[in-house]
């Protein structure tokens, strides 16, 4: 059934239908509307979950870890500072192979303090062992939750998932969202069956420490699970398409790339603006295309390589910053590595940080910069300030 929903409420609806046993909640702009809506649902009896108002994000994820280890499906949401505060727990959760799904309303990182959107928060956690999916619109962020739980809980995977969506841009705007029924979701997403569980009837010690004789192999296993997840995400995304009519069998999306001479690579809601800009540029005869990265972890190197094959001018729109790195953004390195073509130019453009608005005109300007080979820089700085 189609409803016009605020993006954060579209997330809450998906979570409701996934029926987590335990939800831990801590407020942080701009995800707060998610946990508020979930609290209303619990209070009204529309969602039968144990709802914990924890005292920090660090405890939010720790509580999820405990509940997951005790055999329950769990949920939490955060952004920015909250994600960084729970960073220690993030690495711990992945290492303990708990299939936790968490929505990230992407927001800039302090300092300076900023509540507005960019992707520095989740990109900073790229090494943590969490699968990362980036949504372009409210429908996607809604649908990704079903796919995420199904992939995470698969006994061949058992990895946690970040569902990333741009704060304010997607969390606070209204879009039409098609919401499935509970029975449709139940047919797609079965109840959680833990692989390991805390259970007095079958005692197990979880989270032991590993000496140098064992540690590397444990970390290798996590990486292997992440490698395996790529195919499973495609498979589950395809199955979702067959059941619900919206296909998510790709880890990337190619838009007007087939005969493109210039390609922009980007993640998240900015892709909507980029697609509009590309339509205009195409009408003017410019051969530009977009490669949208949907799943950032596991990094879809093969899909990137085949999508960008033959394109010699590639610009990566980076809503993140790797201070001290030559290319300035983090994603560009992995794109460049995947393209693996010395004759192709891959340049990074750090743009849109801290909620700096990006217009169609900005995208056209960026394409000119890509064509001129001027990149690996900040894009759109206010020169009068520096």
């Amino acid at each position: 059934m189609k409803e016009i929903l605020e993006g954060s409420h579209a997330v809450a609806e998906a979570v409701r239908l996934c029926k987590p046993d335990v939800i831990s909640a801590y407020p942080i702009t701009p995800q707060t509307h998610i946990v508020e809506r979930l609290a209303e649902m619990v209070a009204d009896g529309d969602l039968d979950s144990e709802y914990m108002c924890v005292e920090s994000e660090f405890s939010a994820l720790s509580a999820c870890l405990g509940a997951s280890a005790a055999g329950s499906r769990v949920y939490s949401a955060t952004s920015s500072q909250g994600l960084l505060l729970m960073a220690e727990v993030c690495f711990n959760v992945a290492g303990m192979r708990q299939p936790i799904v968490m929505s990230i309303a992407n927001r800039a990182i302090s300092a300076p303090l900023s509540i507005w959107n960019d992707q520095q928060d989740s990109i900073a956690l790229r090494d943590s062992g969490w699968i990362q999916m980036y949504a372009e619109d409210a429908q996607e962020v809604h649908d990704f939750h079903y796919i995420a739980y199904k992939v995470a809980e698969d006994h061949q995977i058992l990895l946690p998932v970040f569902i990333c969506f741009d704060g304010f841009i997607l969390s606070h705007t209204y879009e039409p969202v098609d919401i499935p029924t509970q029975s449709e979701v139940d047919a797609f997403l079965p109840p959680y069956k833990p692989y390991n569980m805390l259970d007095a009837k079958n005692p197990l010690s979880m989270g032991m420490y590993a000496t140098p004789d064992y540690y590397m192999e444990f970390r290798y296993e996590i990486d292997q699970a992440m490698q395996r997840s790529a195919d499973l995400i495609k498979k589950v995304g395809k199955e979702f398409g067959e059941k619900f009519g919206r296909d998510y069998s790709g880890l990337v999306e190619s838009y007007e790339l087939k005969d493109a001479e210039v390609a922009i690579v980007a993640m998240g809601s900015i892709c909507g603006t980029i697609k509009d800009a590309i339509d205009e540029m195409r009408a003017e005869g410019k051969k530009v295309g977009l490669l949208r990265i949907i799943t950032y972890r596991p990094f879809p190197a093969e899909d990137v390589k085949s999508a960008l094959a033959g394109i010699k001018k590639i610009g990566v729109f980076e809503k993140n910053l790797s201070i001290g790195a030559r290319m300035k953004g983090a994603v560009g390195y992995e794109i460049k590595d995947a393209v693996d073509d010395q004759s192709a130019q891959v340049l990074s453009y750090v743009a849109g940080l801290g909620g700096r608005d990006i217009t169609i005109a900005d995208i056209k300007k960026m394409v000119q910069e890509i064509e001129a080979g001027r990149g690996d820089c900040f894009f759109g700085l206010r020169q009068e300030l520096i």
């Binding site: 290492g95 303990m96 192979r97 708990q98 058992l158 692989y195 390991n196 005692p203 197990l204 010690s205 979880m206 989270g207 032991m208 420490y209 590993a210 064992y214 192999e217 444990f218 296993e221």
Partner: protein, 85 residues
């Protein structure tokens, strides 16, 4: 030998580590003096003192020779003897 993911393990495997090799002094239990109070069994940090017919003995595979049982036995029925290896 495959890893148990998440660095988990079922109970029982600690017993493969025979801590008896740590000992310098060895407790010797005098069953004649023993009043069967059970304090040695309760107090042993290893939990390696076993009871048979109301008399007690340490499991020398695991006894670290800490001497707590000897120090606390109310009947002074336990002596610590330097172990010759």
């Amino acid at each position: 030998m495959s890893l148990h993911i998440g660095c988990a393990a079922a109970p029982g495997q600690a017993q493969e580590n025979k801590t008896g090799s740590w000992r310098v002094f060895k407790p010797v239990y005098d069953h004649e003096k023993c009043t069967s109070c059970g304090m040695c069994q309760l107090i042993c940090p290893e939990g390696c003192v076993h009871e048979t017919d109301k008399k007690y003995d340490p499991d020398y595979d695991f006894c670290k020779g800490c001497g707590l049982c000897a120090a606390e036995c109310p009947a002074t029925a336990i002596s610590m003897i330097k172990e010759e290896k």
